[in-house]
């Protein structure tokens, strides 16, 4: 993982997800306020984790 400081505007605090009326609410980081179905939230979560793993090992090895 890079020790360089994040570029301006990059969020360093996680958003907070919660369940309400059978839906998932994502609050933050700042500027984010989204309501998703459980399926959409689950798929977004998977996508976020995969992207985070790639980012942690950046730069990616040549394919």
């Amino acid at each position: 993982m890079s020790a360089d400081p994040p570029i301006a505007g990059t969020q360093t605090q996680p958003g907070i997800a919660s369940a309400e009326d059978g839906l998932v609410l994502l609050d933050g980081p700042d500027g984010i306020a989204v309501t998703m179905t459980a399926h959409a939230a689950s798929e977004t979560g998977k996508s976020l984790i995969e992207a985070a793993q790639r980012a942690e090992h950046w730069p990616e090895p040549d394919a």
Binding site: S18, E20, D21, L23, L25, D27, D30, G31, A33, T35
Partner: protein
Amino acid sequence: MATGAKVAVYMKDNILFTDRFLKGRRGVHLALEERAILENAISEVRTIDARTTIVSAGQTLSNSTLLIDGFMCRYLDDKEGMRQLVAVQVPGDFVDLHAYPLRTLDHDVATLTAATVAIVPHRALDGINANKPELTRKLWFSTLLDAAIHRAWLFRLGRLDAVGRVAHFLSETNARLQPVGLSDGKRFAFGVTQNDIAEICGITNVHANRVLRQLREEGLCVFRSSLVDILDVKGLARRGQFSPDYLYIDAGPQHSSNESHSS
């Protein structure tokens, strides 16, 4: 629809239609002569039901609308018909003064609650523009104030989370209603729905419901039965990163009076 009787009631109570226009704003106190000119520019007063669209995007306009009482909004619909409010207008606002130079608007204008409006024909504004440069500057100020509120709207949607957006909007509305005598500084009647709050803040109704509950549980604000009760004005402003500077509110001694004599 406007009636002569409605006009008579207002005049009997000695309430001017323009009484709230620019009231308590910095550097734009209306002289008595200017107020008289504006009053005489009004061709008609109308009462309009809640949830009524009065201007559609692209429509050619020959009048502008001064909001006397009630709440109105400007909005855009996306391709799926989901509505995004892009402005909320409070009593005293010249809702579509920008239609005077533009002639058509790029958005719709509607009432949120029942409203009373004064209609000002553009030909009357032509006369003011030609002969009264200082009053014209004050009308210009009014549209620039709208622009400042739009900038804050962008900040709210672009930088804040859901709680912050609602906190910012309710703080702003409180600050706008105070100069026109419709808030005591922490409590005001606001006949909009939770769904309106959602469309204003770019969140879903479910999200708005959760946010309003959270604000109540944190002891910041209660929104219930068309009444907003701000329990902690500073705390709500802090949560919404709200500062009223962009509203150009006059903190001076003449704040309560919006009239001065022409020099």
